[in-house]
Symmetry: C2
Subunit: 151 residues, 2 copies
C-alpha cells in the first residue's frame, strides 16, 4: 500500500477523526469497551480478531489517548484497557452508526441488540439540533471552511 494516506493535517474535523479511528478495528474495540470489556482475551474472543492485530490496535488506541492501560482492581498481574474521557466521548459516533445500521442493515423483523437508558429502560436516540435546541435535517447543514484555509 505504499503508505496509507493521512489526513492529520486536513482542516476538516471529520477527516482527522477518521484518520485516528477510521481503520477496520478501532471502533469495534471501542464498542466492546463501551460494553464493558477490558482485557486482551475478552476483546479477542468477542471480535475474533487476530492477536497480533489486536495487540497493535490496543497499542495505538492507548497512544492516541482513547484507551488507558490500568492495573486491575483485584491486584492481578494482567493489564486492563479502559476508556478514557476522550474515548468515552466517541459515544455519539457509536450511537449514530448503530442507529443507521438498525435502519438500513437489518431485514424487517430481524433481531438486533438495542441501546437503552439503563435507568428508565427507554430506547436511546440521537438527533441533530442547532445550538438553541431546534432539530434540523441534513439539508439545512452547511460546511463553512475556516477563514484562511481550504477545508
Amino acid at each position: 500500500m505504499v503508505r496509507r494516506k493521512s489526513f492529520s493535517g486536513d482542516y476538516c474535523p471529520s477527516a482527522r477523526s477518521l484518520d485516528v479511528i477510521g481503520d477496520w478495528w478501532s471502533l469495534l474495540i471501542v464498542r466492546d469497551a463501551f460494553d464493558g470489556l477490558t482485557r486482551f482475551g475478552e476483546f479477542q474472543k468477542s471480535l475474533g480478531i487476530a492477536k497480533n492485530i489486536l495487540s497493535q490496535r490496543l497499542r495505538t488506541l492507548v497512544e492516541r489517548g482513547i484507551l488507558a492501560p490500568v492495573a486491575p482492581a483485584d491486584g492481578g498481574a494482567h493489564q486492563e484497557y479502559h476508556l478514557t474521557d476522550k474515548g468515552r466521548d466517541l459515544f455519539p459516533v457509536m450511537v449514530a452508526l448503530r442507529q443507521w445500521g438498525e435502519r438500513y442493515l437489518f431485514a424487517p423483523g430481524e433481531v438486533h441488540s438495542a441501546l437503552i437508558d439503563r435507568e428508565t429502560g427507554q430506547p436511546i436516540r440521537l438527533d441533530i439540533r442547532t445550538q438553541d435546541g431546534k432539530p434540523i435535517g441534513p439539508e439545512r447543514a452547511l460546511i463553512v471552511p475556516p477563514p484562511e484555509a481550504k477545508d
Copy 2:
C-alpha cells in the same frame, strides 16, 4: 490479508455499519458528497485518492445504495454520483465524527471548518437523548442483546 473479516452477520448494528462504510475512504467520499461534490474528478481532486481506488469505492457505494449514479441535469455525457436517502441518513455519523474531532484533534486556536445551520447561521450540534427527549450521557447507556442471540 487472506480475506478481511466481515461483520455482516453480526447482531450488533454498529458492527454491520462498519462493515458497510468502515473502510478508509467511503466516509470521506460521503462527506464530500454532503459538501456537494458529484463528479469523479471532483472527488479525486478533493481527496487525493488514487483513481482506481476511487473507482472501486464509488462502485461499492452505489452497489450498497449509498450513492446513486445519475445523468447530469445539463444533459452532459458524464456520470454524477448523488447521495441517496440512505446515504443522506449517514449525516449524524458525520456530525458525530466532526464534533469529536473538533474537540480532541485540534490545537487550541487552530482553525477548522464548521458546520452551521444554513438558515439561521447557528452552529450545529448533536446529542443523545432518550425517546422522550431527555439528554443523557454514555454512562447511562446499556447495550442489550436480542432475545435469542448473542450480540
